[in-house]
């Protein structure tokens, strides 16, 4: 009853035999033990499971693992640069207290990186609208907005000073 899939996750080739109904988020958490990607709902609305799939932010509970065969997936564990520093978005969340319990945070960070990719200089409303698909129950979003604005500025500065590829996308 299992089906075979192979894909690239955080730069590494992985292959597995899975139950066909396995969701991508379950595959990441249960097969690969990448538990940084969280499950907060069962209707595709909280965004805690957001990952990058072929460079796009997707809710990994809305993708069957089988559909992700042959793709490239980046999770929260895959965005920290090799030198061990935090990604500018992670650093900004810490600096601006954009997280409390931390449960929505990986999905929020992944969605925010994607948002800044499409809106390099977002204003407050763009951020609020752009993060509408990610629920946070702790922060009231105030500091998340500040963090994303600050990260966008840092990422723009980084782009202009060094043309290196972003790991996440």
């Amino acid at each position: 009853m299992g089906i075979g899939i192979s894909l690239t996750v955080n730069g590494k080739a992985v292959a597995a035999e899975i139950d066909p109904r396995t969701l991508l988020v379950q595959f990441l958490r249960d097969n690969l033990l990448l538990t940084g990607t969280h499950i907060g709902c069962d209707t595709g609305q909280c965004g805690a499971c957001t990952v990058h799939l072929d460079g796009r932010a997707v809710k990994s509970c809305n993708v069957l693992a089988a559909q992700a065969g042959g793709t490239t997936v980046v999770t929260i564990e895959g965005i920290t640069p090799a030198d061990g520093e935090l990604h500018p978005m992670q650093a900004a969340f810490r600096e601006h207290h954009g997280l409390q319990c931390g449960f929505c945070t990986p999905g929020m960070v992944m969605a925010a990186i994607d948002l800044v990719k499409h809106h390099p200089h977002p204003d407050e409303q763009t951020i609020r609208t752009g993060l509408d698909g990610n629920l946070c129950r702790c922060t009231g979003y105030h500091n998340i907005v500040k963090a994303v604005q600050s990260a966008a500025a840092a990422m723009a500065a980084e782009r202009s000073s060094s043309p290196r590829q972003e790991v996440a996308s």
Binding site: G40, D42, T43, L86, R137, G140, N143
Partner: protein, 793 residues
């Protein structure tokens, strides 16, 4: 290291693991040979279980075991207990119906646990659960508290045929009634405090493991108070000795009250882990969270305020019917009573108050503490009454409040509390300034030109945090202590590990508590680690709820630190050949007063653990001290919140355009964390006022708002950025002078928002709106209102 760390926005120690996906939440725990549990839940709000046939499920692929209520009864597993005994107006104990972890004979709400299937995978467990044949005889259900007490309503429990758990009252009825007789003006309101569903983003989860070798259990559980969980589960339900059960609440993804309680699921899998001889994991799906997490609020209230000719409050009279749900959750009984009626004085000198509360059973999920727990309900009563009175009398909203503020402390309220400190004028003055109330009229006119209605709403709330003292609470029916415990372990080379009984599930204890310790010991914040959430490591503590962690848990740590310094002084006196009385502790060094001779705490600690030159005859080795702290009083955070809304009369859509919160939390250790707590509370408070509503269908008893499609959680674009500031009057009775800040926003915001909505709609003749003030409700109110009834405020 002597840099001040109190009052500094130190960035959080816990953030790196959360930001890199390295947190360890309960569902991230995977044990060898682990199985998965799935709970079959009742699809009916009220039904007799005639028969359960589990044979097909038992035989399904991957199934390890299937358990029902009969299995638990045969094993003499008890019911889930309630932690607070309320005594009714006739001196009788409240009705306490049994709450079996798996239903026995009857189901009482949609989501009630019926059977537990344990299988190799969660899919196999779910597939097998579908094969369980339950023969239900469906009964009529009742879901609203006011319906439940009507004659002829279906009885949820045989022991409470009228569905009344208790009728309880508080305050001086005679004095209150007399004051109303002589009042120049009486303001009356009827309203519902809407049912809320807590929705921590991490669903509840548990992993239970039984060790045959040690005959002991380890339970990982998403919980706010692991020792309370263990005590209730072992002593009251499973009959296990506490030392054989270790409860670990690891990283917990938000609680807001909903993870205080002992729930059926973790109880069943703990018991079952021994039966099946393998670890068991259970994680709620969000739909299950909606159905089975304890909900909050759900009051129906009639409230009256009596005033004299000068706008002085003479008396308040409140009648509330509180929905307790189908069973008594752990602290359900005390929320609409002890934590509600005692707060009805608010910030005012109202001399006579009487409140009567009828707690009722319904066919709904149990109702218990949710962020604020009784105090938001009380603040809503007080601040809606005050706002309505000001409007009716044509007195300025801020002015009427100022006329009635308590200005002298300590202040004994007529509802049992003694406020130790506060400055209500200061918070209101600052809020008025920060909210630019002076410029509101111009903004209102500008909005009007765009066809929009603007309104300004005030809320001057008070809350009581750090429920205490234990002996008084015991007299009021508490079945638990209310102290907190802390242990400070100075390691031989001077770094420090602190063990606290309180628990962080977002509040940032690992940082704030480290600041407290670093400040007292004069060492670096990075040299201090905080350990919480594991009964195998920490002293017996009561956990985190009611904004108590720093006021109670921090105080326990301060007491332990005092012991560390006292013992360190003795060791230093020996090492320095000085009199103990001459030793002073100053920024990490024990000094001989008036000299430059001293020993650092690291040197003293080393001497304590390598006691070669040590007064062994008089002093034990080691530098590790613990303390328990039982507060003498509550703390009383208070504040003024001002909300400005803009309403589109064509659609009824209400937007919060400005929200200002000026709070008095006493001394503040980490302003960044405190502001974050306020922001989160405001979001939940605004959510209650404008968006969130837990709705059961009155005929079928089905939860209508059972997903994020139907239950409107506040999202980023529903909220504004907030204006937040603080004023400071220190708490007088705890060593840190702190009061607690976790619930303030959820308490202050709902009345501020609704008062703003009414202010905006008043020119169109609207005087009342229920929460949540959805576009539909606002639009309907505008359609049916009569403009001529409007009065300027």
């Amino acid at each position: 290291m002597s840099e001040a760390v109190i009052g500094k926005s130190v960035r959080r120690k816990e953030d790196k693991r959360f930001l890199t996906g390295s947190g360890q939440y309960t569902d991230d725990v995977t044990l060898p040979r682990q199985t998965c549990a799935y709970f079959l839940r009742s699809p009916h709000a009220h039904a007799v279980i005639r028969k359960i046939d589990t044979a097909a499920a038992q035989a399904a692929p991957g199934v390890v075991a299937v358990f029902t209520g009969d299995d638990l009864a045969a094993a003499k597993v008890g019911g889930l207990p309630c932690g607070w005994l309320i005594t009714d107006v006739n001196g009788q104990p409240m009705k306490e119906p049994p709450h079996p972890p798996l239903a026995q004979g009857k189901v009482r709400y949609v989501g009630d646990t019926v059977a537990c299937v344990i299988a190799e995978t969660v899919y196999q467990a779910k597939d097998a659960a579908e094969l369980i044949d339950v023969d239900y005889e469906v009964l009529p259900a009742v879901v609203r508290p006011d319906d439940a007490i009507k004659p002829g309503a279906p009885a949820v429990h045989d022991i409470a045929p009228d569905n009344v758990c208790y009728v309880w009252s508080h305050g001086d009825k005679v004095a209150t009634d007399q004051a109303f007789e002589h009042a120049a003006h009486v303001t009356k309101l009827d309203f519902i405090n809407n049912r809320l569903i807590p929705n921590a983003i991490e669903p509840r989860a548990a992993v239970a493991q039984y060790s045959r070798a040690e005959d002991s259990y380890t339970l990982h559980v998403a919980n706010q108070n692991p020792h309370v969980e263990r005590l209730l589960m072992t002593a009251f339900v499973l009959g296990l000795p506490e030392h054989k059960v270790r409860v670990i609440a690891p990283d917990v993804g938000g609680g807001f009250g909903s993870k205080i309680y002992l729930y059926a699921e973790e109880t069943v899998i703990t018991w079952a882990s021994k039966q099946v001889g393998r670890p068991i994991k259970w994680t709620a799906e969000r739909s299950e969270s909606f159905l089975s997490d304890a909900h909050g609020r759900d009051h129906v209230t009639h409230a009256e305020l009596a005033l004299d000719n000068n706008g002085k409050f003479l008396a308040m009279r409140v009648r509330t019917t509180a929905n307790l749900g189908a069973y008594l959750s752990t602290f359900a009984s005390c929320i609409p009573t002890i934590l509600y009626a005692t707060l009805l004085a608010g910030q005012y000198t109202t001399p006579a108050i009487h409140c009567e509360v009828t707690g009722v059973f319904t066919n709904t999920s149990p109702v218990d503490a949710y962020r604020g727990a009784g105090r938001p309900e009380a603040a809503f009563v007080v601040e809606r009454l005050v706002a309505a009175a000001a409007r009716e009398l044509g007195i300025d909203q801020a002015d009427l409040r100022r006329r009635n503020f308590i200005t002298e402390f300590p202040y004994q309220t007529p509802v049992g509390l003694t406020y130790d400190a506060g400055n209500f004028n200061a918070t209101l003055d600052e809020a008025v300034k920060l909210a630019d109330v002076a410029g509101f009229e111009m903004r209102r006119q500008e909005a009007e030109r765009r066809g929009k209605l603007r309104g300004l709403g005030y809320s001057c709330y008070i809350e009581a945090c750090g429920l205490a003292p234990s002996n008084l609470a015991g007299q009021l029916g508490a079945r638990a202590g209310l102290f907190e415990a802390g242990e400070v372990r100075v390691h031989p080379t001077g770094s420090v590990t602190v063990f606290t009984g309180s628990h962080s599930h977002g509040q940032g204890h690992e940082t704030t508590f480290a600041q407290v310790v670093a400040d007292r010991l004069g060492i670096a914040v990075d040299s201090v680690d905080i350990v919480h959430g594991d009964t195998g490591r920490i002293p017996f503590g009561m956990g985190t709820y009611g904004s108590r962690s720093l006021a109670v848990g921090g105080a326990a740590i301060m007491k332990a630190l005092d012991k560390i310094i006292a013992k360190g002084s003795k060791i230093a006196a020996h090492l320095l050949e000085a009199a103990e009385a001459d030793i002073e502790y100053d920024h990490g060094t024990f000094r001989v007063a008036g000299t430059d001779r001293g020993k650092t705490i690291a040197e003293v600690a080393f001497a304590a653990y390598v006691p070669h030159n040590y007064p062994l005859g008089e002093l034990e080795p080691g530098l590790d001290e613990s303390a328990f702290y039982d507060p003498t009083n509550f703390t009383y955070p208070a504040g003024s919140h001002i909300c400005e809304v803009e309403i589109d009369p064509e659609t009824g859509v209400t937007r919060v355009v400005n929200f200002t919160a000026v709070d008095d939390f006493g001394r503040i250790i980490n302003p960044m964390i405190v502001e974050g707590q306020v922001h989160g509370g405001l979001a939940q408070g605004i959510g209650q006022a404008l968006l969130e509503n837990g709705v059961y269908d009155t005929d079928s008893g089905q939860l209508v708002t059972g997903t994020y499609m139907d239950y409107a959680m506040p999202r980023a674009d529903d909220l504004p950025s907030f204006k937040v500031d603080t004023q400071m009057t220190p708490c007088t009775h705890n060593p840190l002078g702190v009061k607690g800040c976790g619930e303030a926003g959820a308490i202050g915001a709902p009345p501020a928002v609704i008062n703003a909505v009414i202010d905006a709609l008043a020119p169109r003749g609207v005087t009342h709106i229920e929460m949540p003030a959805t576009p539909e409700r606002v639009w309907r109110a505008l359609q049916t209102a009569k403009p001529s009834r409007a009065k300027a405020a």
